[in-house]
């Protein structure tokens, strides 16, 4: 034992030293455009969000590098430069993500970062991105606090939508669909996302239909998986509609367990993140379940050249339909490409970060979800509409589709700059333009 140890000691120390002092990776001076991609590769959010978004990223980046993406994105890579990626797992909490973000900026010397599903991570990253002056495109996180806390962003952009929009849209859809709506019940995961979603939805529905009763508010813990007690509580409270911002395995478990117990027989439920499991329900969800995709993404994306191309390409590589996280990732990459190319002026160069930030601000670009305008938060937040529809399963073709889709324009569901989502709802949506 002593002998082994005497060998082991220097080896282990040398190894530690080698890890500690190995030279930083070469800078992106190799004529490529280096992008850091941060998304969940492990943990509960990897399955429903992380993996589809990474699939989408790989697909779009490979196609861009081969110059196969339809117009107006025909130019190879980003501005004619091949895209090189550094992939980072978002799992592990905000302080680790700050550490890894700094590594991306200073060790990997990336030209831009695209990523972040968790709202907590987005909140932690935004000030660091500003400090390091690194172009950062947040593709999925939904917290309304992002640009409320970082009031004057320069380098941080969000191409995904604010979660308040999901819930304002859901409330409008329920009213417009002419359902019986005397009372609502709520079941949310007990963490910031659930609290915020219900806060926005309950405020919006009370504003749109005064006198709506809330029968029960259930807050099971995150990743609980078993909802027997909550389903009983929801059933006995006899609401007309159940609202839930559940996602991932929790959402699927709730729908399966609730459906088996007849929870959805006499009433409907609205699931703001429901679309991400469209193909996974396999007929085990009730027809008529109202689902959303957090914007015009996934099954709700409009037909255009880009979305058709993206759907076909995704289906052939991942053997399933792209869900909304894949669309949102594709949108972030296309937005970055559009901004860089607009800033560069001529192909083959990487423009200065200040230039990219300036051209990204207020940019209007074509995406897999239609035209995106960076028209909120002083040009740093995308403005897009939202759509809701009903789940419909066709047993013959073994395929789920969405029926009775209704879309709302961005101006109808998005608070204008200078007011918070909560205040805007409370004031009765002043300035909303709905058709």
């Amino acid at each position: 034992m002593k002998r082994t140890r005497s060998y082991l000691a220097p080896t282990a120390l040398a190894l530690a030293a080698a890890i500690g002092f190995s030279a930083p990776v070469t800078a992106a001076e190799n004529g490529k455009f280096r992008v850091g991609i941060v998304t969940f590769l492990s943990g509960a959010a990897a399955g429903p969000f992380g993996v589809p978004s990474l699939n989408g990223a790989k697909l779009v980046i490979d196609a861009l590098n081969e110059g196969k993406v339809p117009a107006p994105y025909g130019l190879k890579g980003i501005n004619g430069l091949e895209i090189e990626t550094v992939i980072v797992d978002e799992n592990g909490g905000a302080s680790k993500q700050v550490e890894e973000f700094r590594n991306l900026a200073e060790r990997h010397k990336v030209d831009a970062v695209i990523g972040y599903i968790s709202s907590g991570d987005c909140l932690a990253i935004a000030p660091v991105a500003e400090e390091l002056k690194l172009t950062t495109v947040l593709f999925d996180c939904g917290t309304s606090r992002l640009f409320e806390e970082n009031k004057a962003p320069t380098y941080v952009f969000r191409t995904g939508l604010d979660a308040a929009i999901d819930n304002i849209g859901a409330a409008r859809y329920l009213i417009d669909s002419g359902r019986k709506l005397e009372s609502v019940a709520s079941i949310q995961q007990n963490y910031a996302w659930g609290h915020d979603s219900w806060g926005d939805f309950s405020a919006a529905i009370k504003q749109l239909k005064p006198g709506v009763k809330v029968t029960t508010e259930q807050l099971p813990k995150l990743f609980q998986g078993q909802y027997g007690a909550e389903i009983s509580a929801l059933s006995v409270s006899k609401p007309d509609v159940i609202h839930s911002s559940f996602w991932g395995g929790d959402m699927e478990a709730f729908v399966l367990q609730g459906n088996a117990r007849g929870l959805f027989d006499k009433r409907t439920a609205v699931l703001t993140c429901g679309e991400s499991a469209l193909d996974r329900f396999k007929g085990q969800a009730p027809n008529g379940l109202v689902i959303g995709a957090r914007g015009p993404f996934g099954a709700f994306a409009p037909e255009n050249t880009l979305s058709t191309w993206f759907r076909t390409a995704y289906r052939s590589s991942a053997e399933m339909d792209p869900t909304y996280p894949a669309f949102k990732m594709a949108q972030a990459i296309l937005g970055l490409k559009a901004a860089v190319e607009k800033a560069a002026g001529k192909p083959g160069v990487i423009p200065a970060k200040e230039e990219v930030a300036r051209s990204f601000k207020g940019l209007s670009f074509e995406s897999v979800s239609g035209t995106v305008r960076m028209a909120r938060a002083n040009g740093h937040q995308a403005l897009q509409g939202i759509a809701y529809g009903e789940y419909k399963f066709d047993a013959k073709s073994d395929k789920a589709t969405i029926a009775n889709v209704k879309s709302y324009s961005g101006e109808c569901v998005t608070p204008p700059d200078g007011t918070t989502a909560a205040d805007w709802i409370k004031a009765g949506f002043p300035g909303a333009q709905c058709n």
Binding site: G93, A94, E100, E131
Partner: protein
């Protein structure tokens, strides 16, 4: 008057080397070192108690109190001076520990471990329920100043690194003195046989109580520096996995020397960041194997590399 022993000279030299290297190392590395040293302070808190036979699975409680004191001091009390904020964190943490310690010191073994874990999860639950504190998303730490001086960007990170090194060095020397004092030796005795210690005329309970308070204080320092460095606090700081990581690093380093937790924390951080880079899809596995290898080949922790060599030389 202040005579340094060999360990302390080494500690001072290491601290000076780290301070000098701050200007040579790339910023990302100093940032990793800042977080690792801050974390090591919490691990020291775990180790103090471990020497007396108590494993705290809830040291995240005090880590979180330290971090949130910094965040809330800035957001609600309008205190922006780093020194005041750290002091606030320590005061809050020791205050809480003074009350909880009365209960905690009555328990040993698994009961102590579980109770400490439960207490930290209570804090986690309270913060998650609190919308004003941003629930699970947490909130940012803005506009930190140092005695009226407000450095921006990289300078600020450098200042925090320098402060962390100095404070960690100071605490390490204090811990070393405590470990080598008579009272420090009693900790080992409490671990071996508490009743005998009582018959020697000492009160194990009050020694454990003092340990508990001291551990809470330095854990809060670690939490405060983490909050200052990352610029964000969230309830994950009090979550059981965070506390578990502290115990893990403690075992990784070993409990026999004051430098061990620092080395282990730095190694852990470096292995993690490079594992993440090499294998973004399976970095946890690399981390697991490295840690497993250390446990199998060095059951007394990394420090046995140094200790083993010394014995061989003697």
């Amino acid at each position: 008057m202040l005579k340094l022993d060999k360990t302390e000279i080494w500690l001072v030299v290491s601290a000076l080397v780290l301070l000098a290297s701050a200007f040579l190392l790339p910023n990302w590395l100093t940032f990793i070192l800042t977080l690792a040293l801050a974390k090591a302070l919490v691990v020291q808190g775990v180790v103090i108690q471990m020497r007396a036979g108590l494993v705290s699975f809830g040291q995240g409680l005090f880590f979180c109190i330290g971090g949130y004191s910094v965040g809330m001091g800035g957001a609600f009390l309008n205190i922006h001076d780093a020194f005041v904020l750290v002091a606030l964190g320590v005061a809050a943490s020791v205050g809480v520990a003074a009350i909880l310690g009365l209960l905690m010191t009555r328990y040993r073994d698994i009961f102590f471990a579980m109770l400490s874990l439960a207490l930290s999860m209570i804090l986690y639950g309270l913060i998650v329920k609190n919308q004003a504190l941003g629930s699970t998303d947490g909130f940012n730490v803005h506009d930190v100043s140092f005695l009226g001086w407000m450095p921006a960007g990289e300078d600020q990170k450098l200042v925090i690194f320098v402060l962390t090194v100095i404070v960690a060095g100071g605490i390490a020397i204090a811990l070393n003195r405590y470990m080598k004092s008579g009272l420090g030796g009693v900790n080992e005795a409490i671990k071996e046989n508490e009743i005998r210690v009582e018959f020697l005329g000492l009160s194990p309970r009050w020694i454990l109580y003092a340990n508990y308070l001291f551990a809470a204080g330095i854990s809060a320092v670690g939490g405060a520096f983490t909050a200052l460095a990352t610029g964000h606090v969230d309830p994950e700081m009090a979550f059981w996995t965070t506390s578990g990581e502290f115990v893990f690093i403690a075992l990784l380093g070993g409990t026999s020397h004051v430098a061990a937790p620092f080395i282990a924390a730095v190694l852990f951080a470096l292995v993690r960041t490079y594992a993440l880079e090499l294998a973004p899809h399976s970095w946890q596995m690399i981390l697991g194997f490295v840690l497993l290898a250390i446990i199998v080949f060095l059951p007394k922790g990394l420090w046995s590399l140094v200790a083993g060599k010394r014995r061989a030389a003697a």
